[in-house]
Amino acid sequence: MPITHPGLQLQRLAGAIPVWHGRIIEADLLPVCESVRDGGGRLVALWGSDERVFGAGFSLHVVLVNEAGLICLTLPLSAVQPDYPDISAIFPAASRMQRAAYDLLGIRARDACDQRKWLRHAAWSEGAYPLRKDFDHPHFGSSLRSPPPHQGEEAIDRSPAENGTQTHDDYPFVQVEGQGVHEIPVGPVHAGIIEPGHFRFSVIGERVLRLEERLGYVHKGIEKLFEINSLYDGCKLAGRVSGDSTVAYAWAYAMAAESIANVTPPDIALWMRALFLERERISNHLGDLGYLGNDVAFSFGFAQFWILKEQLLRNNAELFGHRYLMDAIIPGGVRAGIDESGKQTLLAECEMLEREVRLLRSVYEEHAGVQDRFIGTGSVAPELAARLGLCGLAGRASSQAWDMRVQCASAPYGMLDVQMATHRNGDVAARVIVRFDEIFESLRLQREIMANLLGGDDLAYPVSQLPANGFGIGMVEGWRGEVMVAIHTYAEGNPDRVHPHDPSWQNWPVLEHAIIGNIVPDFPLINKSFNLSYSGHDL
């Protein structure tokens, strides 16, 4: 039992990772959160669900993690006035999740100090809550299970007012006042081809006094779309929440579904999943290391790392059918295996990568100009990181020693003895070092996985129907951090509510702190060293 509290009944869910789930009453929520925090735990995710179809009200779900595993608390909310006590004073990372939960479902955190909208821009009006089951939208109508009709001219011709949308998106940014302070608004359209996000800098000269982010420009209604998808289509959709983490999302989704269906995939499938996940980690780290070179105008590094990444992606396409390994993981197993010659290809690739990355690492580390830009830039002290709940790769670079492959090791990671890479400094240089270390560790894991991968008959066991009233959580350490997917079923069959959670939720607010005191032209470098997801956050 990860935590004990009088009156709190927790039940261990079946599945690959240790998850305890239980209902909680409102009065217990804050004390339980506090005791988890005081015990060194963190907030993982917060979302709501509409359960009025059973005659119940809404529910708030909070997932916490400590050394013993995940704790999922469900707080029933009234159907008439759905609100709950604000937990952002305990876990600052909760603030944006609470605001998003209000925008999408209309459940409000009482007395939260920040009640501004977050994911709602001008696409739907105030008072409309897309994730409510009775939400009226031309795509969904009354029957949620039927596929959405094509957006006809009818929908386009309607004026914004009739559509329930606004033409203006008034968002009250926090103003910094004082002599000589001015604002630099950046984005959401940028000079390069990157995802959209708005950054409001308050600066004096080149020095940043405050940065405020405004995200949500790529809100695609993914959570709503999950409601009408079948189990297997849902896995495809999960793999597209954030394209750079497709393996992590698909695995987390499959893990949650398998937990509900109580299915354990064949061994070979678990090994293959770990192989895919490590390959995803290596390819993203290679790409980021290249970009970090590019951002300090060291294009040589950029070109070299991307040559390596391209080689890896081509091997993926050749062996597994997709460059980024999309749809390689399905509920119950995997879709692609590997044969002897494939193993030889990958072992040769490992050797090449090990040699080349070692060389490039020495180039980066011995380059005075590059190091001058990296060291001390965008520093997040370990205390701040702990308080704000910085997680994943960026967290490990600030002494937050959390890695789901170590702490909540699901099979096959329990047999792999993963060495976590951490650093104390929390600056761009530390995040570069952690990336390098993780590449080498992933190469080692990849070799070990291949030594353990024996030929099996089945790549996947079928997961047909999910039982009614099911709940499952899957969590995987993606390259950016912990990726979580929660699945609720109400009726028997397919998922009724799916909540994917990206580690970027925790880390975006920390970026606002990392830039303070730095100069404006260093922001792209700091931003890239975190490399957070817009798509995975905006949903």
């Binding site: 608004p185 950046v186 300090v296 105008a297 070109a303 100009g369 100069i519 404006v520 260093d522 792209p524």
Partner: protein, 319 residues
Amino acid sequence: MNNPHLILAVLFQLTQLLLVVLAAPMLTGWVNQCQAWLQNRSGAGLLQPYRVLNKLFHKDAVIADNASWLFRITPYIVFACMWLAAAIIPILAVDLPFSQAADVIALVGVFALARMFIALAAMDIGTSFGSMGARREMLVSFLAEPALLMVFFTASMISHSTQLPGIVEALAHHQFVLYPSLAFAGLAFVIVLLAENARIPVDNPSTHLELTMIHEAMILEYSARHLALIEWASSLKLFAYISIGIALFLPYGIAEMGNWAGLPAAIVLLVGKLALAGAALALLETVSAKMRIFRAPEFLGTAFLLAVLGLLIHFLLGA
């Protein structure tokens, strides 16, 4: 100066003007190509800048509603300034008619004029990036200009002239002498060249990160023919700067005015020098990273110091 001589001079001047304006984008293409090779990439080829210019000239210009005449006229002024600068510098031959019109100090003024207009146009549009770029550009240029003047003064001291033809004449056509003072001035000039042409390590001409830009931030709002003229002017500026470098430090082999027979050899030699300088620039850029903007003053301070050292050495050693 008799009549046939004048016609010849004008012909020479026109040849140089045309050649420079047509060849300048190729120099940019060459630098980019060398960089691509140094980074293990295949590169876009020497002609890519021409394709870009062609594309831009075929597009419709988009101009902000609140742009004034200043914004529209700036690309033409900048282009004209750079072309004029290229006309003053003895590139193909010495003693061309235009070069009598202005000395090195005026040349620095021509560059400054173009910079002033582009900075004003950047602020005219009222975006935060424009003002940010203009502010940074002014920081860099007001430190680069004195260093450039010092470099010119060192060369002028040796040749007793502030006219570029005079300097080239003195250095190219007299007995070959090694000037230690010029070595220092040459180093200072390279630094100024990097800073003034928005090259790494001061600026990054190929970046898409708007917050890090200096020169690019000022021209973010330009499109189509305006952008084409500014890009072309940037190529001309790089060409002009490298030509100044050649004129001051490697003038050997330049053609005499009116000597048609010497022209082919001079052109071949010039192409060789430009190619070498472009490759050296690409190498320099490939091995360095961009420095923080507040390191730029130190960097340019070094240039100024080197140029002053050159001048002192000239006084002390007379060489």
